[in-house]
Amino acid sequence: MEVSMTVNGSARSADVEPRTLLVHHLREELELTGTNVGCDTSSCGACTVHIDGRSVKSCTMLAVQAEGAAITTIEGLADTARANGSSTGEMDWHPMQEAFQQCHALQCGYCTPGMVMAATSLLGEKPNPTETEVREGLEGNLCRCTGYHNIVKAVLSTTGGAS
């Protein structure tokens, strides 16, 4: 089946098997391997991307269901921030990427793309979350390395609420 979507600002069309998961389409067909796969039960959030501005676990939908959608993956996040003038720091990244490095919110980095995408979308919905709201908002994203301490700190730091 032919499927077309906008990914990180570019129009991308491809012929996919109808059963192809969106995450496999992004990773294998479009070669955007920043989005990871950590489970097979939609539990870990490693595959989180933005679809039309909202965070979605890209293993929970088929590529064909994203027909016509605008998708941002970790590879496109900094560009999006640059385009709307919100990028920061020496690297000119999205503020959340910047905060993750500053707060040492990643170790192996496997959960990180999904975590960053989930965190940015959380702040989109709730610009000034409490610590509890951050923790609950990220409940669908698992990290085995950091104990979440620095992840929560990073997210709060972007809102000026860091401890």
Partner: protein, 790 residues
């Protein structure tokens, strides 16, 4: 904003982060080559079954399928020369029945591979797996340690016992017996270390690529141990070692689960070699319960004999340890790694330890964060709390009364277990933790709640752990019958343009080696950490190494780097002296510059000497060109980090729910290279250990079927379950290495399970609860509150 460059002691931002934060880095599953074939594993669905027949015709006829091989066919193809290796035959008579990459006649755990499909795509391979029809003759499964020990069923039908080995360490049996003759206080306790699924967030995966022109094979694997893997693959397959190249690209966490030699690795290499095509595989999360080893799995029995004041006279411990279905790389050695720590941080005059290893029809066990040491720490730290109760003193006081050297600073203490503890200073560490925790206030609050029946009981638990890391002095490993050494290799080279290249044999998977190693070079050589690049994790770039596990990277690998840097400086000094026409003895080296003592105006920076060494136009007579040195560092002793952890839990009297509301950790890992990285290691380790105490358990039914293999049911904690942690440090330099460093990778896990469970039991003590199995689920806690017993 934090520093982006710096030396030892700087909380410098990590060099690794930019690629990981933008998706530029490559994990194994991100790497593809033309013509690759996907392996799909047909796995046994029963815990113990003879294979009657396998019909592959349906699968072979499916689109995209290249071939399907059964275990028998693979055995006939003679792809391997030996079974999967166990490098640690702990006793001479240890039973070690052959573990083939694919089962031939009998499969002995759910998930053991019985046939392999090769297909053009991930999905086609998965489809074809479903169409392989296997007929089984089901056998009784041995589904627990108790069953292995007590029932007549056998995990291996051809063996007449399930007991694989008996190992003991009783340095002075008479002294031990005397200690337990009529002690004033006698603690007898049994604990269960449940099986855990390591669950690194990146699943394991492999990609083997044959070189089209020669016999060389490159294996990309999500592994912690590319160097060990290279040796072991050569030994197992018979492929010449020099034809193998192993690359661990970005690796998404390991925690021990990626230090094995796995069937998939052997299959990928041998099939790629035979077929002349690239072969790949990535496990699914649910598959991992059978395809990647698990952790813990021990029944512990511990006894403490103490005098009337609670002063310990002797400790003896016995373990029944679950090996799972087969011995993997260091399966039988894991309990031994803990054996020396059953005396904890205490001055124990008499000590004895024994362990029986049992086969079961469950996924093999092997190293998992801490590997034997969290178990040991749990047993002694739970038991000493019980002793405190018997003596009628607080958990802090019982510890103080028993600390090695009374809690004062010591160096090179010989423990009853025969190990020499490098250094320790326990009392101030405890003081600091209790102060940060506001221990007295917490106790007052606890008393207030108990009186008022507040509905939420408070529990306060502590753990004062010590661990063994910096694995390991090669001779010590030899003494334990381990099949390799414990050294680490490093090369440091000053490039012609003054940049520094470090080649490290340790293999990071999240620890930040590139950053930390650069910091060591910055301090040692007086160059900017920005000018340093670290090469690692590829046996072609870094041919010598023993990789990353057992909190060894810094205390062994980092020290090797520091020593290699010193050798480079020594050589550079000769070149500088030659240029100055001075004696090397008259030169000093400050902040990277050589100058003649007393005439600092005339100086040359070490980075300028790279070019002189490269052109070799004017070197001292007889000196070889280039500025490059290497060191294989074999540590003279282990390192023994320690610390005090305090957990505070709240227990809901209505639901039995346990909430971890505060956590204080004061650790001592000796000198710190990057405090930010140390803190991160502790955070992660603490949550992993707390997860054992409160949430995680791999549950098998009586037939050996895993009942919670996926993330739906296996409860890896999320951010919502844990609080911010309060971390602080004391610094007692190690005497085992010149940097004074110890290790921090496993400390969190080693301290936290015991601290959390001590808190849970403390909260429940008004209900008469004296112990509880992990994990302390709401159901268990609620039942304990009703009936007293757990």
């Amino acid at each position: 904003m934090k520093e982006t460059s710096g030396g030892i002691g700087t909380a410098m931002l990590r060099k690794e982060d930019p690629k990981l934060l933008t998706g530029e880095n490559k994990f194994v599953d991100d790497i593809h080559v033309n013509g690759e074939l996907w392996m799909g594993m047909v796995r046994c669905t029963s815990a113990h079954a003879k294979i009657v027949s396998i019909d592959t015709s349906g699968a072979e006829a499916m689109p995209g399928v290249h071939s399907v091989y059964t275990g028998k066919q693979l055995a006939d193809m003679e792809l391997w020369a030996a079974p999967l290796p166990c490098a640690w035959p702990v006793t001479e008579d240890m039973l070690n029945p052959p573990h083939w990459p694919v089962a031939v006649d009998t499969a002995r755990h759910v998930g053991e591979i019985v046939a392999v499909v090769l297909a053009d795509s991930r999905y086609q391979a998965a489809d074809a797996v479903e169409h392989v029809v296997v007929e089984y003759d089901y056998q009784k499964a041995v589904a627990s340690i108790a069953a292995a020990r007590d029932s007549d069923d056998k995990a291996h039908l051809e063996l007449d016992t399930n007991k694989a080995f008996h190992w003991e360490l009783i340095p002075d049996p008479d002294a031990l017996a005397a200690a337990f003759e009529n002690p004033a206080h006698h603690v007898i306790a049994d604990f269960t270390q449940q099986r855990l699924i390591p669950a690194a967030m990146e699943p394991r995966g492999v990609l083997a690529v044959p070189s089209p022109m020669g016999g060389e094979i490159t294996l990309y694997s999500a592994t912690q141990v590319p160097h060990i893997l290279k040796v072991m693959i050569a030994a197992t397959t018979g492929l010449p070692e020099q034809k193998l190249r192993i690359i661990a690209p970005s690796v998404g966490g390991g925690f021990g689960a990626k230090l094995n030699v796995n069937p998939d690795e052997i299959l990928a290499v041998t099939l790629a070699n035979r077929l002349g095509r690239a072969v790949r595989w990535t496990e699914t999360r649910t598959e991992a319960a059978g395809s990647t080893h698990q952790g813990r799995g021990q029944l512990q029995h511990i006894e403490i004999a103490a005098d009337e004041n609670g002063k310990i006279q002797g400790v003896r411990a016995h373990l029944d340890a679950d090996m799972g279905a087969y011995m993997m790389l260091i399966t039988p050695g894991v309990p031994l790694l803990g054996s020396f720590l059953y005396t904890g941080v205490y001055d124990v005059p008499a000590f004895g330890f024994s362990c029986d290893g049992y086969f079961t029809n469950l996924t093999p066990t092997d190293a998992y964060r801490g590997a034997g040491r969290p178990e040991a720490s749990y047993a002694i730290e739970r038991a000493i709390d019980i002793l405190a109760g018997k003596v009628g003193i607080g958990p802090d006081e019982i510890r103080r009364r028993n600390y090695i050297n009374g809690g004062e600073l010591f160096e090179d203490h010989e423990a009853a277990s025969t190990l020499i503890f490098d250094s320790g200073h326990y009392a101030p560490n405890l003081d600091k933790a209790l102060e940060i925790a506001k221990y007295e206030e917490l106790k007052a609050e606890q008393a207030r709640r108990r009186e008022s029946g507040a509905g939420k009981q408070l529990g306060i638990g502590m753990c004062t752990y010590v661990e063994i890391c910096g694995l390991a002095p090669s001779r010590a490993l030899g003494g334990l019958n381990y099949g390799a050494g414990g050294w680490e290799h490093a090369t440091v080279r000053m490039l012609p343009t003054g940049k520094v290249e470090v080649v490290s044999g340790s293999t990071p998977h999240g620890q930040g080696h590139e950053t930390a190693w650069s910091q060591i070079i910055a301090t040692k050589m007086g160059v900017s950490s920005d000018d340093v690049t670290v090469l690692h994790s590829d046996t072609a770039l870094s041919p010598l190494g023993l990789d990353t596990y057992g909190s060894r990277s810094l205390a062994v690998g980092g020290v090797a780097i520091s020593m290699a840097a010193e050798k480079v400086i020594e050589k550079a000094k000769l070149i500088a002296a030659h240029q100055f026409e001075a004696s090397p003895d008259d030169l000093e080296f400050v902040d990277g510059s050589f100058s003649v003592k007393g005439t600092p105006a005339k100086s040359v920076h070490i980075q300028e000497l790279g070019f002189a060494a490269f052109t070799a136009h004017d070197l001292p007579d007889g000196m070889e060109p280039n500025l490059q040195e290497q060191v294989s560092f074999d540590p003279p002793n282990f390192a023994f980090p320690f610390g005090t952890h305090v957990a505070v839990v709240e227990i809901d009297e209505v639901t039995g729910g346990v909430e971890l509301i505060d956590y204080i950790a004061v650790d001592d890992c000796g000198v710190q290279v990057n405090p930010m990285i140390v803190e991160g290691q502790l955070h992660g380790g603490i949550v992993q250990g707390a997860a054992q105490a409160l949430w995680e358990i791999a549950i098998y039914d009586d037939d050996g079927n895993p009942t919670n293999p996926s993330f739906m049911d296996y409860l890896v904690p999320s951010a919502a379950e844990v609080p911010f942690m309060k971390t602080d440090y004391t610094v007692t330099p190690s005497t085992s290495n010149p940097l004074g460093v110890k290790g921090a990778g496993e400390a969190g896990t080693i301290g936290s399970a015991a601290a959390v469970m001590n808190a849970v039991v403390d909260a429940l003590s008004p209900y008469g609860v004296e112990d509880m199995d992990m994990p302390a689920t709401p159901r268990r806690v609620w039942k304990a509150m009703q009936g007293g017993a757990s």
